[in-house]
């Protein structure tokens, strides 16, 4: 949905993605208008599958110009693709595809907690978060809580991003809403449905943009606009703690 919002706002020149839509309804109307009609501006689309975009980031994360894969052979995504080309297996096996490295200028990731150096603990859904943080030239970590470094060091296997890769740490509780953060926030599904409805027309989108972005100076204002009741309903207060892990030497 965030893709769609940025595209519809006219801030995007090029999209490199496997899927652009709305988890609530499928189609992203802002993306469709840009792609089909060039409104509010033309976008260049680099289509991927989940694995090929993941491998493109992983290649950059590994410091490699490309990674090989079998995924996509026989399909149209990889045909004439600017970042994917057929290669031989140097060991004589079946042909492969090379997925060229994708090195974002900036990765912005949301985690549960980090110390002031950017060493970040993340749990729950991972997706491509770690690959993006490794691949990017600059990585910004947004966290629910900046914690004392002893918290991070108590569980170094939970540190998915070492701080020396991180350019900035932002403490912004609820910064991922309306998406969920395991143990902190539930997904607010209604805004996904509402955005799906309202973004069907450019006017609807502009109204949404004014209400939820332009008229809200910061995240506290956003939460206030959501309403205390909604925030309270979404905030996780239950506890289902991970089993103990003893690191004593």
């Amino acid at each position: 949905m965030a893709f769609d919002q940025m595209i519809a706002a006219g801030t995007v020149a090029k999209v490199i993605a496997a899927w652009v839509g709305n988890v609530a309804g499928g189609s992203g109307y802002g993306f469709r208008r840009a792609y089909e009609q060039g409104q509010p501006r033309r976008i260049v689309m680099e289509d991927h599958s989940n694995f090929t975009v993941g491998l493109a980031l992983k290649a950059a994360a590994m410091g490699l110009p490309y990674l090989p894969t079998f995924s996509g052979l026989g399909g149209d995504i990889v045909r004439g693709h600017p970042r994917i080309r057929p290669i031989d297996d140097p060991f004589g096996g079946p042909d492969l595809l090379a997925v060229g490295a994708l090195r974002p200028d900036v990765a912005i990731i949301h985690v549960q907690r980090a110390d002031a150096q950017g060493n970040a603990h993340l749990w729950g859904n991972l997706g491509l978060t770690v690959e993006a943080a490794y691949a990017a030239r600059r990585t910004i970590v947004i966290c629910e809580e900046v914690v004392p470094e002893a918290v991070i060091r108590s569980d170094p296997n939970r540190t998915v991003i070492p701080g020396f890769l991180v350019s900035a740490v932002v403490e912004e509780p609820g910064g991922a809403l309306p998406s969920s953060v395991q143990g902190y926030w539930r997904r607010d599904f209604e805004p996904f449905l509402a955005y799906h409805r309202t973004s069907r027309t450019p006017e609807g989108f502009q109204a949404w943009l004014r209400e939820w972005v332009l008229d809200l100076p910061d995240r506290p204002a956003y939460l206030q606009h959501m309403g205390q009741a909604a925030v309270a309903r979404l905030r996780v207060s239950d506890r289902r703690l991970a089993a103990e892990a003893n690191f004593a030497p």
Binding site: N125, T129, Q182
Partner: protein, 249 residues
């Protein structure tokens, strides 16, 4: 369709029957997710489900989920890895069966979820997501589609998820489950395996945009048992996915 169950509930049951016990299943959202849960609850208690975001579960989430990254889909998972990890297992050949959908299908089982001009104007669809990877790399794939003439095309406009093609390394479309019937695609053509109760061969021919062979007396798709329906309605209590207006791919 009888009044006792919706066509989508019938499709969930058909999807469940495609899963054998102890199989490793690449699960999608919507009907496949319900089908996986139903299979686990009935004939395939030891099946394991992989989600493209990295989650591995051997039972469905305790509560309804809108997306596979929703917190209830993490709780009780046996593992929560990254996207590249589960895609690597898929590429290794560790996944027996995967479920995918699309906006268009052709007789080779090619699926399009990228873009189409079937209506005259260009329509942009959300893209592959993980579907192209599952189509490329799973041991076999089960396709789930709404059965409409504009969706069943001699040749899809764009092959997002490759079907049968010469030189395929493994897998390919095995079964197609639609709103009208169940079709065997394993031989590289579309053969009726069963028609949903009340559906006639003529209906299927009219709804299929390419010639299709139908035996004289095709069997009827097995109808959901009371237990199966009970499971589905427990898992999707508001009919979000199994109600009357199914959402496409």
């Amino acid at each position: 369709m009888t009044s006792r169950y919706t066509r989508r509930e019938l499709m969930v049951v058909a999807a469940a029957r495609e899963i054998r016990d102890r199989e490793v299943v690449f699960v999608g959202m919507r009907l496949p997710l319900l089908g996986f849960g139903l299979a686990k609850a009935t004939h395939a208690p030891d099946a394991v489900g992989l989600f493209e975001n990295g989650v591995i579960r051997d039972r469905p989430a305790e509560t309804f989920i809108y997306t596979m990254g929703d917190p209830p889909n993490i709780v009780g998972a046996v593992a929560c890895l990254g996207l590249v990890d589960v895609m690597s297992l898929l590429q290794q050949g560790r996944v027996d069966v995967g479920f995918i959908g699309g906006a268009e299908v052709d007789p080779l089982g090619n699926l399009n979820t990228t873009r189409t001009s079937s209506s005259g104007a260009l329509t942009r669809l959300p893209g592959s997501g993980g579907a192209g990877d599952i189509a490329s790399l799973a041991g076999r794939t089960v396709l789930i589609m709404e059965h409409e003439p504009r969706r069943f095309r001699e040749r899809v406009d764009y092959i997002t998820s490759p079907g049968h093609f010469p030189g395929r390394r493994r897998g390919g479309p095995a079964t197609l489950i639609t709103t009208l019937g169940v079709f065997d695609l394993s031989a590289g053509r579309v053969r009726v395996a069963s028609l949903h109760p009340g559906v006639t061969p003529e209906q299927v021919r009219e709804a299929t945009g390419f010639p299709i062979t139908i035996d004289d007396h095709p069997p009827a798709t097995a109808t959901p048992s009371a237990d199966e329906l009970a499971y589905i309605r427990h898992a999707d209590p508001e009919g979000f996915w199994t109600g009357d207006s199914m959402k496409s791919g």
